[in-house]
Amino acid sequence: MIEQLLQECLRSGPINLGELVVREVEPGRFLIRHWKDDESQQKLVVETNAIAVLEIVRYDEQGNYRALKGAPNLRTGWELRLKSVPEVRQAIDYFYPGAFSTWLAFNRGEITPVDLRQTLTRQTGMYRVTQRLTGFQAEDLAGRFCQSRSCCLRTILWTIDGKAPEKYLPRSKFDPQADQLEEQRGELSKDGGAGTPPYRVPFLCVEACNLFVAEARKIVKVHSK
């Protein structure tokens, strides 16, 4: 089902997910690139196996480990040439684990975003203290830790105490149709990057991640001292 949908999407044109552009160049020949490389004339390192993605996603341009795969710091300079839809699906899952399937489930109306309170309430062990995170601290953390420009490209679907954490984040951060890379793209198009935009697959966040919970823990710890 997932592969079928992916095939249908690619038949009708290139797709964009996070920082990726994926296209079927001709039947049975697929190409995945970083969007910044998509129209550049630079020579790219060609990879022909989805497993190569695991190395591409590991470190950013500066050599730092990418703990958060949704961060807008995927390195450039590579090109992935694949021969089947299952391989494309595998590659996308290595770049953005679960993202494509989450979108499919979202389309089917099977996604139930998890309120931050629920996420924090079920924490145990060293993360149990995150239950003490206040609503204000949570909003502030979301504003810093989830913003699209330098932190995470996912569209937030979860809430804090029933409300979207929009105090320090733009409305577009909660809109699955919005382009989270808009600002960055704007800067690049000044240098001539243009063309027909690919179909944008919503890149969704249905529940605050472990890294968010870990940050929440630090905040509670600092304030309890």
């Binding site: 997932i2 050599g63 899952d93 062990g125």
Partner: protein
């Protein structure tokens, strides 16, 4: 993400413990070894660390790193995480120590832990032989094996560079506290792990049919 009617969940964990007993079942909403949810059957397997071949992997790593050091003058230290949160965490490492002792290759085999006694920093008091081989009973090389354990062993200072920028395994042996210390990589990076994962699935079926 997974559409098959039968789903095997294999924890890539070195031991049963807090995560396999509490966190994974909690996060995946499992009710036991078999959970039926949304027309899918979720089968929760044992952690890979329970596989009988772990003993061979540990011995293989030790032999690899130690080179020409004579086994009869060598102490083997199996280092593991251990945690006050679950008493089973250290059990797997202790079980491995017993199994390796029974093979009679090294005169001294001991376990040491990051978060419970006996602690890794005590390695010199826990061992008596000239040569000491330390093998991390861990699934992957990461913060613990690159940074935390070397600091606890005393082969690295606390404020050293991050993991990706150095190679603690290339400087063996370390001359320290009148011993020659050899430090190995985590066993979970061995290619045999793929077979072990498949065997873990087979064992689940044998136990639950």
């Amino acid at each position: 993400m997974v559409e098959a009617p039968d789903v095997y969940i294999v924890p890539n964990f070195i031991s049963e413990g807090y995560f396999t007993a509490k966190v994974i079942p909690r996060e995946l909403e499992l009710t036991g070894p078999i959970t039926i949810k949304n027309q899918q059957t979720l089968k929760y397997c044992d952690p890979v660390g329970n596989d009988p071949r772990m003993t061979d992997l540990l011995l293989h790593r030790a032999a690899e790193v130690v080179g020409d050091a004579p086994p009869h003058d060598t102490s083997l230290v199996i280092v593991a995480h251990g945690t006050g949160l679950n008493e089973n965490s250290a059990v797997a490492a202790k079980r491995q120590v017993e199994a390796i002792r029974d093979r009679g290759i090294y005169p001294e085999v001991v376990a040491a832990f990051m978060e419970e006694p006996p602690e890794i920093s005590e390695w010199a008091n826990l061992t008596t032989q000239t040569y000491v081989v330390v093998v991390p009973f861990f699934i992957s090389d990461g913060l613990h094996s690159y940074q935390d354990i070397p600091v606890l062993l005393g082969i690295q200072s606390g404020n050293s560079a991050p993991a990706s920028q150095q190679d603690v395994f290339r400087h063996n042996p370390y001359e320290l506290r009148n011993r020659k210390l050899y430090y190995a990589g985590a066993i979970g990076t061995d290619p045999m792990m793929a077979d072990i994962i498949l065997d873990t699935v087979d064992r689940f079926d044998q136990q639950h049919d």
